[in-house]
């Protein structure tokens, strides 16, 4: 059943992504100020949204794990965080490329990019923590606590870096002119958000299955040792 779901989500995501790619690259004209590179926003921004949504879901699942002690919640939290970290990396890399083309430098301390970098560091730490713990129940418990801490910090980080950037203005990666994009340019963005969310979901389902199998193997090993 789970496998069929994975195939279904992947299929829909692939179709949507293909259609979006077509629209982004073939249909839309070049942007007035930035030329062709602006198309990167259609991957840069949705990746950020998917990633942050993932971290939020991870926090919720971590809290649910601590309340119910059902290890399936732990699997979801781990899977979603991992996928979130990947999409955060996509955001960072596309941001870096964008910055290189626009500003000529490989990295720019744009407020949102900086915040995303901190998020990436936080959750890379989460993944490292999980690697360091062998026993599944302890791993679930400790990483759940970390996930809650991390997300509370995420909120504070985004706010504080915004304030920092208003006090020390710096480069801004955006193509919003006075608050909005030209009509017709905005919708592929939102379609791509959906597409990425679907890709993320199928990856999460896949990863969850992996976590479940890993736990099974761990339990079998313990049984074997007990004999």
């Amino acid at each position: 059943m789970r496998e069929k779901l994975i195939y279904l989500f992947s299929a829909i995501a692939a179709v949507l992504l293909a259609w979006d790619l077509y629209r982004v690259f073939m249909v839309l004209p070049d942007e007035a100020n930035q030329g062709a590179i602006y198309r990167i926003i259609y991957f840069h921004v949705p990746a950020a949204m998917t990633s942050l949504l993932g971290f939020f879901v991870a926090m919720v699942c971590s809290a649910l794990y601590l309340i119910t002690r059902n290890l399936r919640f732990d699997s979801v939290a781990a899977a979603v965080t991992e996928v979130g970290v990947v999409f955060a990396a996509v955001n960072l890399v596309t941001g870096s490329i964008w910055g290189r083309i626009i500003w000529g430098i490989w990295w720019t301390w744009d407020a949102r990019l900086t915040s995303m970098l901190v998020c990436w560091l936080l959750y890379a730490g989460y993944l490292m923590l999980r690697r360091a713990i062998d026993e599944p129940t302890q791993r679930a418990r400790l990483s759940a606590v970390l996930s809650i801490f991390a997300f509370v910090d995420v909120i504070i980080v985004w706010k504080s870096i915004e304030w920092w950037r208003t006090q020390h203005p710096g480069p801004v990666l955006s193509i919003r002119n006075g608050g909005g994009m030209a009509p017709g340019m905005e919708s592929p963005l939102w379609w791509n958000v959906l597409a990425m969310a679907l890709v993320a979901t199928s990856l999460v389902l896949l990863r969850m299955r992996q976590e479940g199998i890993r736990r099974e193997i761990d339990a079998l090993r313990r049984y074997a040792h007990a004999l």
């Binding site: 290890l71 599944p136 129940t137 736990r215 099974e216 761990d218 049984y223 040792h225 007990a226």
Partner: protein, 238 residues
């Protein structure tokens, strides 16, 4: 349920403990009457230490309920009346014997920590090294200090994890006399052990855990004293 639970020293009901999907303890049902001394037997890895840690409030069970002295195991008033002696001595190397006991006395809310500490140093034969750092103590001295730490707050229930293992003769004698005295005073004791001889002498009850399940539970008989290995032969294998 609550009324009868209050009469028991320990009331374990359908306890399961999981490591991931692996059950280390499976549906343990166990009661220990007040004033009893239970010897908890079982092979290494059977689950004795896991169960003791849950009773001591050091870890949480996955399923089931546990009442110690009538209350939840993590209840502070309960823990004030429990003395725990684990595998390690649980005292600080860099502090003196007196400082260690005074510290734990304070944590356990003992009325006069210094006086009680000195009393117990005398009872365990450590009075003349009271200001010596634990780091410099011999093995036997450390073990006696650990025993002092366990008893100093006048616990109603004693939880001991393999207390006779690796003790020298003097420490064994001290511990045995303290345990006999405790029994005489009506305190309850649960001790896991491999040292069948010493434990069975003191025990009023016996339980055997095998692969996470309670394989045997009953009073200690003369037959067990004569042939301690009988239990393992009959209930120890799966």
């Amino acid at each position: 349920m609550a009324a009868s639970a209050a009469l028991h020293a320990v009331d374990v009901h359908d306890i399961w403990k999981y490591y991931g999907d692996f059950p280390a303890l499976r549906g343990i049902e166990l009661t220990v009457e007040r004033g009893a001394c239970l010897a908890l037997l079982g092979r290494n890895g059977a689950g004795k230490t896991t169960l003791l840690r849950i009773i001591a409030g050091l870890s949480r069970p996955g399923k089931g309920t546990i009442h110690v002295l009538g209350e939840d195991a993590r209840n502070k008033l309960t823990r004030r009346r429990i003395g725990v002696l684990g595998h390690a001595i649980g005292v600080y190397e860099e502090l003196s014997a007196l400082e260690n006991l005074r510290y734990f006395g304070r944590l356990y809310g003992v009325a006069d920590p210094t006086r009680t500490a000195i009393e117990w140093l005398e009872r365990t034969g450590l009075a003349n090294v009271r200001d010596g750092l634990v780091r410099e103590f011999s093995r036997g001295m450390r073990q006696r200090l650990a025993v002092a730490r366990t008893f100093l707050h006048d616990p109603a229930l004693l939880l001991l994890d393999e207390p006779f293992t690796a003790l020298d003769d003097r420490a064994i004698a001290v511990l045995q006399s303290l345990l006999r005295q405790a029994q005489g005073e009506g305190r309850s004791i649960v001790m896991s052990t491999h040292q069948l001889r010493e434990a069975l002498e003191l025990a009023t009850d016996v339980a055997l855990i095998n692969r996470g399940k309670l394989a045997f539970r009953g009073p200690r008989t003369q037959g067990m004293l004569d042939d301690p290995a009988w239990l393992y032969r009959n209930y120890g294998e799966a």
